[in-house]
């Protein structure tokens, strides 16, 4: 059904945005269905200077030399592979070697599964999760950003893995920033670059580093201790506590962080270990090469978390005993508060969220009120105008568009006796629209209502776009009038159509009333087969309207026509109320409203064919049902009287006659439909030809006379009337002009 017709595409779009909305609402209520639980996390970082792991130098001191079993291992490497080919080739032997070394070592703590590893040239990040926890790790994604040569090569930069552990969103970054003491700004730039460019795209909705509950950075950030080598060595002679204190003051990273130049909002545990760089390979001796680097804390572990998250560092140290690189490895242990989802609780919250969204969606369905859904129209007769107002108010939260729509299988949204203005409109929130319902039964609907084939009732469907439908009922009673009545039925009536009008108008009369005027007697006793009401109209026009110009062309006054209607329906004495124009219009209206026109449908074609031959026309007329024939003839008599010079007109400029012919000669609905199928050009020519034939047919009856034409009284006063047995008029006055003899019957 089109009224509910949303396209599938549309629906799906709505649903997608719904998904996002649900996710957003759920994250806002996370605390309602999660409980914070502590999980031990291991973080390690080591710049291995391109070396392979060595069996004589096991990794236990770095990876397992502490109490407790980490749930998660996050291990970062830099300079994993110094071979220049690693810039170009994806594969690296070192990667496999180190993964294996880590795996073997941590297996002593428990059974771990690799959640994800990612390598960019020399940088590698591996995440291991305890086997029993791995099912709670979801939406794992990795990304890499190169900031090295040309600003994008992978000799410097970062690799990163993001994942959700239970309900917590975690991000791990292993970075290697630019080297050399003086390159502080370059390192800061590397940081910014990574933050900006790292995007996890292999997710349904891409995420960035900052869009996580907790973020951990490990790596060789390359920030140095900015003092001379000489000075540094002097400090390094001292004991650990004083050494740490003196060096810390010159640590570039701490200084840059204090000035909010890098790692804004990040925390670092207190450094309680000697600088991790630079040693002579295989020893614990400070760099003795020509370059003689100033010892520095290049290798660090930092973290940042959103408000409400719980991260506690338990351990932060370097490992002195691993000597294969010029860097010492660094490790940290954390208790990380993980939001563990309570499934039943989550389901409840989820259901609540769905309910909430449903409620909102329901409240955004267009809503309206109408002040009435049931209109009692009362008693209505032909062309009586009744108006009602329907108030449509927008009571919802969105603008509405309303429209009256046809019921399924119907062509029109209302019956033809009803006019709705506007039948379609939009209304803003809180506004109203007044809809006028104008009821008027005219020729289109009168016949059906008169016979009772239809009732004066309708149910309108007021449809809100994307919303509900209102049914609006209208109900009234059609009071039959002579208008819209079948000619035979009318002729057969011995009583007025609306006798109750006598009472209403207090003009109750009957044939026995002594003061009944002659005129009334005349009008109320028409020749056989002519309905009283038609006769009344004909008599009125015949006696009093001969000198009125443009009769039948100029419209009457509606209120006068209504009075005439009542007068006819009550069969009140002549004269009829109102001007000649109004009476003339009433006559046309009566003919127009006939269910079967004056020329019966089935004789329509014969009449057209007879339009050139008077004898044939006469024959066709004989085929008319009596009522139609007599009425037709009387009508012709009237026309001849009104316009005595028909024969002087050419049949082409008989404008009035053309209009009348159209009323008298009507094709049936079927014939009309066949006409409608024809092409526009053919139709126009055809129409003209038909119209000419119709007029010609009528014209013949005006310029020729039949032997048995009815006689209409020429005056409504007794004195003016020619005497005859039945008191009716003798010859019409027009007789003298007619060139051939006419006989009358009495």
């Amino acid at each position: 059904m089109s009224r509910n017709g949303e396209t599938a595409m549309n629906r799906l779009d709505q649903m997608k945005s719904r998904e996002l909305l649900v996710e957003e609402r759920m994250s806002l209520r996370q605390e309602d269905f999660t409980a914070m639980s502590k999980y031990l996390f291991f973080f390690g970082t080591w710049n291995v200077n391109g070396q392979s792991p060595r069996s004589r130098e096991p990794l236990e001191p770095w990876l397992t030399n502490f109490d407790g079993q980490p749930h998660v291992y996050v291990v970062g490497f830099q300079e994993l592979d110094l071979d220049k080919r690693a810039y170009v080739y994806e594969a690296s032997i070192r990667e496999v070697e180190w993964l294996k070394a880590v795996e073997n070592t941590i297996s002593k703590k428990g059974r771990y599964k690799l959640a994800r590893s990612i390598r960019l040239v020399g940088m590698m990040l591996v995440i291991y999760v305890l086997e029993e926890d791995i099912e709670y790790v979801t939406n794992v994604a990795a990304a890499a950003v190169g900031t090295g040569i040309m600003g994008w090569m992978g000799n410097k930069g970062a690799v990163s893995v993001r994942l959700e552990f239970h309900g917590s969103h975690l991000c791990f970054i292993c970075a290697h920033f630019a080297a050399h003491t003086e390159e502080v700004e370059r390192r800061n730039e590397d940081y910014r670059n990574i933050c900006e460019r790292m995007v996890f795209t292999h997710l349904e909705y891409p995420k960035r580093i900052k869009e996580h509950d907790m973020i951990f950075w490990v790596g060789d950030f390359n920030y140095r201790i900015a003092i001379s080598r000489h000075e540094a060595h002097k400090i390094l002679q001292g004991d650990l506590p004083s050494l740490l204190k003196d060096l810390a003051d010159h640590d570039q990273l701490q200084l840059q962080m204090t000035h909010q130049k890098v790692f804004h909002g990040y925390k670092e545990g207190k450094i309680k270990f000697r600088p991790t760089y630079k040693y002579d390979m295989g020893t614990d001796m400070w760099d003795s090469s020509e370059k003689a680097r100033v010892p520095s804390w290049c290798d660090r572990i930092l973290w940042k978390c959103k408000d409400g998250e719980q991260v506690e560092q338990l351990m932060y140290t370097s490992v002195k005993d691993l000597r294969l690189s010029d860097h010492k490895p660094v490790m940290a242990l954390f208790d990380v508060g993980i939001r563990v989802v309570d499934k039943p609780k989550k389901k409840k919250v989820y259901e609540t969220v769905l309910k909430e969204i449903d409620k909102e969606e329901n409240s955004f369905i267009p809503q309206a009120n109408v002040d009435r859904q049931d209109f009692k129209l009362g008693e209505i007769t032909f062309i009586q105008q009744v108006e009602h107002t329907l108030t449509v108010a927008n009571t919802g939260q969105v603008p509405i568009i309303f429209e009256f729509i046809p019921a399924l299988g119907k062509e029109s949204y209302c019956k033809d006796w009803l006019k709705i203005t506007p039948n379609k409109s939009n209304i803003s929130q809180g506004e109203v629209c007044y809809v006028e319902l104008q009821v008027c039964v005219d020729k289109k609907s009168a016949a059906k209502l008169t016979t009772g084939a239809e009732k004066l009732e309708d149910i309108l469907i007021l449809h809100l776009d994307r919303g509900k439908d209102f049914f609006i009922s209208l109900q009234g009673e059609y009071i039959s009038s002579c208008f819209g009545m079948n000619l035979e039925a009318l002729a057969a009536r011995t009583t007025p159509v609306r006798p109750h009008l006598f009472v209403k108008t207090e003009q109750l009369i009957s044939f026995d009333t002594p003061d009944l005027t002659f005129a009334s007697k005349v009008a109320l006793s028409p020749p056989a087969h002519i309905p009283v009401e038609v006769w009344m109209l004909l008599c009125h026009l015949y006696t009093s309207s001969t000198d009125i110009p443009d009769l039948f062309l100029q419209p009457g006054l509606p209120e006068e026509v209504e009075k005439i209607r009542d007068h006819l329906d009550a069969r009140l004495p002549l004269p009829l109320p109102g001007s000649g124009h109004s009476v003339a219009e009433a006559l046309l209206l009566l003919f127009d409203a006939l269910p079967e026109p004056l020329v019966p449908f089935k004789l329509y074609n014969e009449c057209l064919e007879a339009s050139a031959s008077w004898p044939t026309a006469k024959v066709v007329l004989e085929k008319f049902p009596k009522t139609h024939r007599e009425t037709f003839k009387a009508f012709m008599v009237l026309l001849r009287k009104l316009q005595p010079r028909w024969e002087q007109h050419s049949s082409t400029d008989l404008g009035t006659l053309e209009i009348l012919a159209d009323l008298v000669l009507k094709p049936s609905v079927e014939v009309n439909k066949n006409m409608a199928i024809m092409g526009a050009i053919g139709k126009g020519a055809m129409k003209q030809a038909i119209s000419r034939k119709k007029t010609a047919f009528l014209h013949m009856f005006l310029v020729n006379r039949l032997d048995d034409e009815p006689i209409i009284p020429s005056s409504l006063s007794q004195t003016g009337a020619a005497t005859s047995d039945n008191g009716l008029a003798a010859l019409p006055q027009s007789r003298s002009v007619v060139t051939f003899p006419v006989t009358f019957t009495d």
């Binding site: 059904m1 509910n4 599938a8 595409m9 629906r11 799906l12 649903m15 719904r18 998904e19 979801t138 939406n139 349904e204 259901e351 769905l354 969204i357 449903d358 409620k359 969606e361 329901n362 369905i365 859904q373 019921a407 399924l408 299988g409 149910i459 469907i461 007021l462 509900k468 439908d469 209102f470 049914f471 009922s473």
Partner: protein, 198 residues
């Protein structure tokens, strides 16, 4: 969270005599509320409600119809496109029970052939005014091979269950052209765009 399964849209329809409680059943289900004042539905209204069934999110669009007899010819035109129809009677009103056959005929004539039907005997909280036994309800449902439940919108009995059972029956019928298509079968918005530009 695993890969999202896209929603389905089910269109359901409530029919039955005037005053049996169709609007109340819908109101109970959608808003979990009950209103004792009787306002006759003169038209067609609907509400949205999302449910989860067998791991699928299903959006129900539930249409409430006018029960008054004078609107029947109009309301039947809304049957088409409904995937499930709930036919409601009032256990305290024998007339509403007698009319079940007529309503079923309406469904037969105007609804989709494969529409899932369910019979609800509403107001089952009003035991003291009961006129139709549960057995009679079950019998007529069995005769016509449709599901049956006694419900009370007022006391919140079986309302949710009724909607879930009807939805499940629709879901079990499997792929249906009326449901929202799977995402992969949809044209990408970008392709649409290029079509417009060319």
């Amino acid at each position: 969270m695993a890969k999202r399964s896209y929603d389905l849209l089910f269109k359901l329809l409530l029919i039955g005599d005037s005053g049996v409680g169709k609007t109340c059943i819908l109101f109970r289900f959608s808003d979990d509320a009950f209103n004792t004042t009787f306002i006759s539905t003169i038209g067609i209204d609907f509400k949205i409600k999302t449910i989860e069934l067998k791991g699928k999110k299903i959006k129900l669009q539930i249409w409430d119809t006018a029960g008054q007899e004078r609107f029947h010819t109009i309301t039947t035109s809304y049957y088409r496109g409904a995937m499930g129809i709930m036919l409601v009677y009032d256990i305290t009103q024998p007339k509403s029970f007698d009319n079940i056959a007529k309503w079923l005929r309406n469904i037969e004539e105007h609804a989709n052939e494969d529409v899932e039907k369910m019979l609800l005997g509403n107001k089952c909280d009003m035991e003291d005014r009961r006129a139709i036994t549960r057995e009679r309800g079950e019998d007529i449902a069995r005769q016509h091979g449709i599901r049956f439940l006694e419900t009370s919108a007022k006391a919140n009995i079986n309302v949710e269950r009724a909607f879930y059972e009807l939805s499940e029956a629709i879901l079990d019928k499997g792929p249906n052209k009326d449901k929202a298509p799977e995402p992969q079968s949809l044209p990408k918005p970008r392709q649409e765009l290029s079509k417009c530009c060319s």
